[in-house]
């Protein structure tokens, strides 16, 4: 596009620079054949080591939850649904692993992971650290309804043994 008057030598200089810059580019690319380590992670067989604070699927250890509602309040997208009832007075108050008394009976703990934005705001406010981000990211589903996880169902409570490191 530049306004250059094309001279006889300019014509050949153009050809020379074009060929030269192409060859330089090809040489840079060609050097990748040897001498460079492949960077590809062969995913299903080899996995990257994720850092400790990685933010993937949420898991609530319902047995340690004191139904404080802090996570639901801090969630910017309102995808955590908790309900609880006060514990009847005639029953003794159980304690969490770290000694916090559970004054409420948790009756529902649902997270809709199809809405979650994985911001991590809910896990930092959790007083008993029962709500955590796990490093599990492989949970694609065929149905969108399956993405709503009720953490009081038996299979998810059983999942605790695999997730929670003691």
């Amino acid at each position: 596009m530049r306004d250059e008057r094309l001279t006889f030598f300019g014509y050949f200089r153009n050809i020379y620079t074009a060929v030269k810059s192409s060859l330089i580019g090809m040489w840079i690319t060609f050097r990748y054949v040897w001498g460079k380590k492949p960077v590809t992670v062969e995913y299903p067989e080899v996995r990257d080591v994720l850092p400790d604070n990685t933010r993937s699927r949420l898991y609530n250890d319902a047995l340690n939850c004191i139904s404080c509602n802090l996570c639901a309040i801090s969630c910017p997208v309102d995808c955590i649904y908790i309900s609880s009832v006060p514990r009847p007075k005639d029953l003794e108050v159980p304690k969490c692993d770290d000694g916090t008394p559970k004054r409420q009976v948790l009756t529902q703990y649902v997270i809709d992971t199809a809405l979650c934005c994985y911001c991590g705001l809910c896990t930092v406010v959790c007083p008993t650290e029962c709500l955590t981000h796990t490093d599990d990211y492989e949970y694609s589903q065929y149905m969108v309804e399956d993405m709503k996880y009720d953490y009081l169902t038996d299979d998810l409570i059983a999942w605790r043994d695999r997730i929670v490191k003691t």
């Binding site: 596009m1 530049r2 153009n14 620079t17 074009a18 030269k20 810059s21 192409s22 330089i24 580019g25 840079i28 690319t29 960077v39 994720l50 850092p51 604070n53 990685t54 933010r55 801090s74 969630c75 910017p76 997208v77 934005c117 994985y118 911001c119 991590g120 705001l121 981000h133």
Partner: protein, 392 residues
Amino acid sequence: MQTWDMDLEELKEEETSLPGSKLKTELLTVNMGPQHPATHGVLRVEIKTDSEVVAQAIPHIGYLHRCMEKHCEAIDYRGILPFVDRLDYLASMSQELTYSMAVEKMLGTEVPRRATVIRMIISEMQRIASHLMAFGTYALDLGAFSPFLYAFDEREKILTLFEDISGARLLYNYFWIGGVWNDLTDKNVEYIKEFLDNFEPELVKYDRLVSQNRIFQERTMGVGTLSLADAHSFGATGPVLRGSGSAWDLRKVDPYLFYNEVEFDVPVGEGQRGSEIGDCYNRYYVRMLEMVESVKIIRQSLKLLEPGPTLGKVSKVIKIPKGETYTRTECPRGELGIHLVSHGEKTPYRLKVKSPCFTHTSILPHIAPGQMIADFVASIGSIDIVLGEVDR
């Protein structure tokens, strides 16, 4: 703002008054986008062409209008951070910086020194990552595939660092109000140093591979020239303004963080390598030079790191007194401004984002007339828009 309409009328007159021709010609309308590999997202441009020359280009935006400003009126100040991330998803850290600086300015919070230095390091790393993406996709737009792979290769290294400190790969939520979430460990500092040492030869390689390439130069030089007066009038900032020859950089003009304690130059488009000032090549080249400057800044700010706290004192429930502010910082794509109006509640009354990409997209109809369609693609790429920020 009648420029392109006038152009169109002139063009029609010219066509109809061709000597000896009684053929009536019409302009052909070509619809580019919203699904198009070269529009960087969901930009739709309605192009009126005369053969292959663009006579008029009308951008249609709003295909990614995610109602972010409406959400901000209902969400507390901490919860807005993830939404601010999603504005310019290629430079989330810089967006977070602007937002948290706006809130801190209203609250009067003091950010600890270590947190400020970490912010500076990380936002410059983010600038490198964002410019790498711009470089890779720009080369991809112009038909070169391998620079894309090289750029992503280096970008992945930066993302690995970000993932290590924040836990996420793309949308970090790392700069909190009052500081940063996690501290930068010694291991991270070593990683950054190692990355910078490896990155400088890469920049030389990119320069030889793309910037000095004759074909690339022919595609970009003298294309999409934007004069300085027009750039000012459009309110252009960032590499677009600097490519037009102005040394306006908010980091120099109004230093925030510790940019006054480090030394760096502001790269300006000066018609390097025989290009015109303000053309696509200059805008591209300013980005490449900015990466060099970012490397300089990071090296100097790593020396400023001192042990200390990383999160200032902020109350658990943030309530901002009545008032309003307009805060702006220099993001990779230009100046991002946040106009925050508070009524003393837990949520902002209004949060308006001045996005540089929105401003830059409005330049497109101005520089399009008279270009070939392929050059128009080069113009879009050189402006480097992110549709998430254009539409918000």
